[in-house]
């Protein structure tokens, strides 16, 4: 009986002690901002922490606390934090993860918060990646093109023309060369397509493929036109008709293809630019590799990207100070440090001029030459895209690439089933 009474009293006491309101973020006149970073590579974490340290040394009245987040779980963690009113002030994420948070009112519109210097430094096509419904909800600061990482020795010995950003391969040429490089149980190319949708859509911008079309009424529909077919058809034909691409890698992630690449099974692997870090670290001694631009189509080297972004939580009581910290973090010289740490390209035009990004070492120069061609990934501002991707497009592309369904069936599923999904989000 006494125990029960004590338990009731304890609960009552806890409820009395409870009070709402997040951490005020100010104590003794010092403002504290929480910066949740998703940096994960050694150099990148170090660069972020150094910059936070430098800020704190120069701004004793605005202290930034570095909070380590993880790419693997950031969406769920942020969603819960937003719902509970406990989100970090400054949020590191990627532009393709922002739409729901932006439309949900969790992120601050940055248009009035950011200084002119930063606004003009980042090109309009990069801002578009973080623009939703007219507002800007993140500062795009790091991006990576998809490139072809090639076995340089193999390419040289084959005598094929080596593409450059000025004179890239066409998609047809790429297919022909992949066939030329194939033989003796070795493949010209390995497509790691465990996540086939973003790779296909982003590369299809080079051929003029859009897939998502916004009508005058503002509603988005899926179309699968001739321009959208080029990249998927190339991949499927390489795997099934030419057998110049390994079917075994279709279900792999990028890292999974590296042992085969180092072991001389594949001449080329289409990967994100930042994979160079793994390659530099893991390649056998003397392995000669090089970065080639992805094939070009009717729209040249254009491809879609979802840059990494920095956002401010709508609930943050210190938006102005948070914006000042972002401005500091993205000063050209600091943006370069972040880019080098993550083996990616900065979005800022000033940072892109830095000599460190134009070296032949690790083929930085090739990637930097592609920066001007990067555009907003076609689908990231489309509401319902995640469901379309998971339920419709991923299985459809996987079956198409493996040869289980034909182009007609792929078309039907992407468009018919896809529009049914999107319609639910646009009533």
């Amino acid at each position: 009986m006494r125990t029960r009474l004590l338990a009731v009293l304890a609960v009552f006491g806890l409820l009395l002690a409870a009070c709402t309101g997040g951490s005020g973020g100010r104590s003794g006149g010092v403002i504290t901002l929480h910066f949740q970073s998703l940096a994960w590579q050694q150099e990148s974490v170090a660069a972020n922490k150094e910059l936070v340290k430098e800020w704190n040394a120069a701004h004793p009245d605005v202290k930034v606390e570095y909070v380590q987040g993880s790419w693997d779980s950031v969406h769920d963690q942020l969603l819960t934090s937003f719902e509970g009113g406990e989100a970090p002030d400054i949020i590191h994420d990627a532009s393709d993860d922002l739409a729901d948070f932006a439309y949900g009112g969790y992120l601050a519109d940055l248009r009035e918060l950011l200084p002119e210097r930063l606004k003009s430094d980042i090109p309009q096509h990069s801002w578009e990646t973080a623009t939703f419904g007219g507002g800007i909800y993140g500062v795009p600061f790091l991006q990576e093109p998809r490139v072809l990482i090639a076995n340089a020795k193999w390419l040289r010995q084959s005598g094929v023309r080596i593409p450059t950003p000025r004179k890239p391969w066409t998609w047809d040429e790429f297919r022909t060369i992949a066939k030329q490089l194939t033989g003796d149980g070795k493949y010209g190319v390995a497509w790691p397509l465990r996540e086939p949708v973003s790779a296909t859509l982003n590369l299809s911008l080079s051929t003029g493929g859009q897939m998502f079309h916004r009508g005058e009424d503002g509603k988005v529909t899926v179309r699968f036109d001739a321009a959208d077919e080029v990249v998927p058809r190339t991949v499927r034909d390489e795997v099934n008709a030419d057998q110049s691409a390994s079917g075994a890698t279709l279900g792999m992630g990028g890292s999974d293809t590296l042992p085969g690449f180092f072991g001389g099974k594949y001449a080329m692997v289409p990967l994100g630019f930042s994979y160079r870090q793994q390659i530099a670290q893991q390649a056998p001694k003397g392995f000669d590799w090089q970065v080639l631009p992805a094939p070009a189509g009717a729209d040249g080297l254009t491809q879609g990207v979802s840059p990494q972004t920095l956002s401010i939580a709508e609930d943050s009581p210190h938006k102005k100070e948070a914006a000042e910290f972002i401005d500091f973090l993205l000063q050209p010289k600091n943006m370069v440090r972040l880019a080098l740490g993550d083996w990616m390209l900065p979005t800022g035009t000033e940072a892109l001029k830095d000599p460190a990004l134009h070296t032949a070492k690790d083929d930085w120069a090739t990637g930097t030459a592609l920066a001007a061609h990067l555009r907003s990934a076609p689908a990231q501002s489309v509401r319902g895209y995640p469901e379309w991707k998971d339920k419709v497009a991923t299985p459809a592309f996987q079956e198409y690439y493996s040869g289980a369904i034909d182009l007609g069936e792929l078309h039907q599923r992407l468009v018919r089933d896809g529009n049914l999904v999107l319609a639910r989000y646009q009533r």
Partner: protein, 277 residues
Amino acid sequence: MKTSKGARAGQYLALLGYLVFLAFPFLWLISTAFKPARELASLHPTWIPKDPTLANFRQAFDEQPLLRAALNSLIAALGAAVVAVVIATPMAYVMARHRTLLAKAGTGWVVVSQAFPFVLVIIPLFLVLKNLRLINSLPGLVMVYVVWALPFALWMLVGYVRAVPTELEEAAAVDGAGRVRTLVSITAPLLAPGIVATALFAFISAWNEFFFALVLLKTPEKQTLPVVLTHFLGAEGVADLGPLAAAAFLATLPSLVIFAIIQKRITGGMLAGAVKS
């Protein structure tokens, strides 16, 4: 009923297969933890690293606060195990010995509650803990783990209580022992293996738990091991494999050690011969 030699050999073969199946991922994890980066991407991986290194361990410790995280995990897991067992034991006794409608309903609810997905409860839970000022605190996390482990712990313990013959308690009563004395001197010792097994279950499930820890703990000095391990993962499933394997190997050790120490307590046999049947 004697087992034939052939059948016995088959049993051993099946057991060996099962052991290999269970051990393979762990052994591969150990192998990976000691391999240099270049060996990790080899087309022909080997069990034994050709050029074993401790660099992955050094990098893991340099990059992430593993010891702090391990201590946090230990506090949360031990707290959850102890509290869950303390609460569940008397409850299980009542449910096992008094088969009322209420006890049956309770058991049914326990079974149903196991089907609730984490995401269903996480936001309400977050708000409740926020109002109790228990966000970003290990006591708050322990509370959640206890609530989460309690149904299954209860379920396990009810089975163990039912396995204790009532005749023993009746014999103690005949000898003049009171209710409490009977529970303390007769029932509790016989329940010990069950209590230990249940505590171990609660410990391991809390030690391995990721999602609640991710959502409820914000600052690095509070984070548990599973959360810190994700910091070795990049976007699109890219991983810093060597340091991740090293850290994951270290993270599995406490569970293994604890299990090795108390596994004898879990094995049956304590009740053998207690009752003539």
